[in-house]
Assembly symmetry: C2
Homo-oligomer: 255 residues x 2
């Protein structure tokens, strides 16, 4: 029987190595095996004698099972995730696989290294849009019914949270973002700040600040984080630059 391995789920942050924590870099350097979606593995610094197991982006639980099998064989495995691994990324998939999974997996020490999630990277670029209470919702209805997403969106819009939408759109899910923003327009004012933050921290970063009634004009894809301001979210105009966006910490009486 081989020695017990280990498994760490590592967050790379949004893109730039400047946002990769030292703890995450160390965890990547110590691993004998990296498991993850190909483009994320490409962002991990190269280390000799390290095995890389690339997969596509639609098989999270199989990827988690592969990682657990390798760790059970004595490997020191890093599961590589974009952003923060606990926010709509690989950490939950690993624990889903573990829970009720093979007996050989149950003794593996599993740790998680946090990262800068897209919402925090986008907020930093903009100013302080998350200055008040906020929510994060995945718009993907691959794993939960659309009516749950509508219920949560309605609750968050009605209670005036700032809302970050992850996984807003893909070729297989073309209409959900439009529906969500149409719903937002029935609850929030037309001039509510709306942000499309694409590929934050990567060379092709692109951030658009618009308003809810102009949403249809802005393209989005799976690399886009969409943020809907609260009623109190404000812009500060700048000359020759995108406005700052912030949500004050103070809040008046309930309207």
């Amino acid at each position: 029987m081989s020695a017990l391995g280990s498994l760490v789920v590592v967050g790379l942050g949004p893109g730039t190595a400047e946002w990769l924590t030292p703890a995450a870099a160390d965890a990547l350097a110590r691993a004998t095996d990296l498991v993850g979606y190909g483009p994320y593995l490409d962002r991990a610094p190269a280390h000799a004698h390290q095995h890389r197991h690339a997969s596509d982006n639609r098989v999270e639980v199989e990827r988690a099972a592969l990682a657990l099998d390798l760790a059970a064989q004595g490997k020191h495995v890093a599961v590589v995730s974009g952003g923060d691994p606990g926010v709509f990324a690989m950490a939950a998939a690993v624990f889903e696989a573990l829970d009720g999974g093979k007996a050989a997996w149950q003794r593996i020490p599993i740790t998680v290294e946090p990262g800068i999630t897209a919402m925090l990277g986008a907020a930093a670029r903009l100013g302080a849009p998350l200055g008040g209470d906020f929510c994060a919702i995945s718009l993907s209805d691959n794993l939960k019914p659309w009516d749950v997403i509508v219920h949560r969106l309605t609750a968050a819009l009605s209670a005036d949270f700032v809302i970050s939408l992850y996984n807003p759109i893909s070729s297989a899910r073309p209409w959900q973002l439009g529906e969500a923003l149409t719903l937002a327009g029935t609850i929030r004012a037309a001039d509510t700040p709306l942000i499309f933050a694409r590929a934050v921290g990567r060379p092709n970063e692109s951030i658009t600040v618009t308003t809810l009634d102009q949403a249809a004009a802005i393209p989005a894809d799976m690399s886009t984080l969409v943020m809907i301001g609260a009623s109190t979210t404000k812009l500060i105009a700048r000359t020759n630059a995108r406005p700052y966006v912030y949500t004050p910490r103070y809040y008046g009486a309930w309207r």
Copy 2:
């Protein structure tokens, strides 16, 4: 007239230097002046010839005004914040001060360096409790009315978000956390996972996993992040260790 300075709001992460991003470390090293709450300044690595302006924790907008004044005088100022500066921390205070503030402040280049916020640090220690949709709410009613907090909590509880409570309790606000958890008990089941994560990433880190009906037994303070699980949040028992806590990505039909 002196040369234009700059202002960067820097997130230190929850505590350990292993969670401080290289970009944040660089921003601290380049600054001529550091402004912040004393204990946060103590956590910033020492650099010669750097001026440190410590303040207490209750004067965010005065602290922001001091930082903007220094930058307007040509200094390169880092405003030092725990966790992520955009999440219930200094970034919003800086933009509140800027908005409608002195004319001399308006041309200062202002940037924000994100950090690991307490919620992400705590989640990493636990497993993947934020695997589903989630909210972050500050329980402080210093700057917003308590009825707004109750409205938001009720909405988030009813829509089955995982909920992170920041600023849960202080000597001046002794009853708010108890009220919030009592409210949670009227909407969520008694055995809902409840987490008290204190001083995550610091030497005195302490994490307790309990259930909503046992909340009163657990002490909390301003260094504590309280997390209320969703109806789907699960525990995985371990021998001789705290259980893992995770929220599956999948979600059944709306109950």
